[in-house]
Symmetry: C2
Subunit: 261 residues, 2 copies
């Protein structure tokens, strides 16, 4: 049986806060101290706050531009702005580069952690030191999806937890190899934790217990889930790819014209 609950009583997180100590204490105070095998799922928001990623920004759009490696797709919004789906320095493809303008002081934005797998590792090792328990950590953020309304939480960092559950090569009941093969375990953990956390309830940390997924090694991290977006079948938005094709078509016609006798 899997159980999941939110850790209450964390309060506002300041830059430089000792997150592992705060989470371990809050869990113990709530009467549910961390135990061996627990996966601690932490919203990136408080990781960023503790790591001092709250920065002054006169304009959120400029902050998004600075955080983006490239714009994958964009579309005008009803409010006159531009929705930009970008690839971040981490390789994630997401709206607004994960730059968060809610629940922060005016004139500020909150950026994603620089190295979310590293953040997860620090958290896990800090929690292990503080509690003596063999725990794993997943750091999450909220993502939209193509073709589907609504957002879900995904993992952006992970440490001391299996990132995938790999069924490749496992024979099915008829002895044939399964076609669907690799479950993104940390993404399903992120989603399960979001059911008990709460963006508006101020509960940024959840514990998931009962899954045999915590490891002795720090592991690959979420980096292993990032497919090279530059070579993905959806590496560009449809309009962006069409426009590049159109320009190439015009250029090809001009080139053919030049070469004609």
């Amino acid at each position: 049986m899997l159980t999941a609950w939110a850790v209450p009583g964390l309060g506002e997180i300041a830059p430089g806060a000792d997150l592992p100590a705060l989470i371990a204490a809050a869990a113990a105070t709530a009467g549910t101290p961390l135990a061996d095998g627990d996966v601690v799922v932490v919203a990136s928001k408080i990781v960023s706050k503790a790591e001092g990623r709250l920065v002054t920004a006169a304009d959120r759009e400029d902050a998004i531009t600075a955080e983006a490696v490239r714009v994958v797709a964009s579309r005008p919004r009803k409010d006159g702005g531009l929705t930009r789906i970008v690839q971040t320095t981490h390789g994630f493809v997401m709206a607004a580069a994960g730059v968060d303008g809610s629940n922060v002081p005016a004139g500020h934005v909150l950026l994603l952690p620089v190295d979310p797998d590293g953040s997860a590792r620090s958290l896990a090792e800090g929690l292990r030191a503080a509690t003596g328990s063999r725990v794993g950590v997943v750091v999450t953020d909220t993502f939209g999806r193509p073709w589907r309304n609504g957002q879900t939480d995904l993992a952006i960092g992970a440490a001391y937890v299996d990132v995938t559950d790999d069924h490749r090569g496992t024979p099915d009941a008829q002895g044939r190899t399964l076609e669907v093969s690799v479950t993104a375990l940390v993404d399903e953990l992120a989603a399960a934790a979001d059911l008990v956390k709460g963006k508006v309830r101020g509960l940024p940390v959840a514990v998931v217990r009962g899954l045999d997924a915590v490891t002795d090694e720090v592991g690959t991290g979420v980096r292993a889930l990032v497919r090279d977006a530059e070579h993905d079948m959806f590496r560009w938005g449809s309009d962006e790819a069409y426009a590049r094709g159109f320009d190439a078509g015009l250029a090809a016609a001009a080139h053919a014209e030049e070469e004609a006798p």
Copy 2:
């Protein structure tokens, strides 16, 4: 606190099987009978089997073609075949139209339910009648994602359960409206349930308890999560959109040439 567990002992599902009766009995036999507020999460595979969607197919590729409304993107596979991301009759964008060739007899494939929201409704109403408990149902399938390795389960049908958790208009701690606003609740339920179900363990049904999400009305179903793929920012694969643009660019050049004096 949220708890989730798999329902054991269902066995192989035959066409015409009374799934609600089988699930209710299996849950009771396992010592965890269904209760008010439970969400029963069911892999589409057994729903399809019960609904007689196991069909003879000399060729899986032909079956995929028949199930697809349009091909969104395709790419050659190492084995010489073609990976096709298609839009299904339901509006889902997924690899191979959800046509399943594993764990089925040779020469057969398993198709998705014709109306997964309707299937969820029948299951929920059957389970309510069989148990007297106010339960909701989510029917799931496994999806790949752009830009990210690994698959996760998503909802393809839902009944008597909140499909989304809508935070739009909810003020943040500083009194501003939250930007990230609509959680795809049934997709997070599908993911949480997949942690305890098991593609290779033969456990196609899970119960999620402790979430205040079951409703008296049948609700919108997953249909409400399907964004019109034809108008999505990623409505075509990058190569497909580029090729269309290229052809349009050539045509535009030819047209300009004709009109030249």
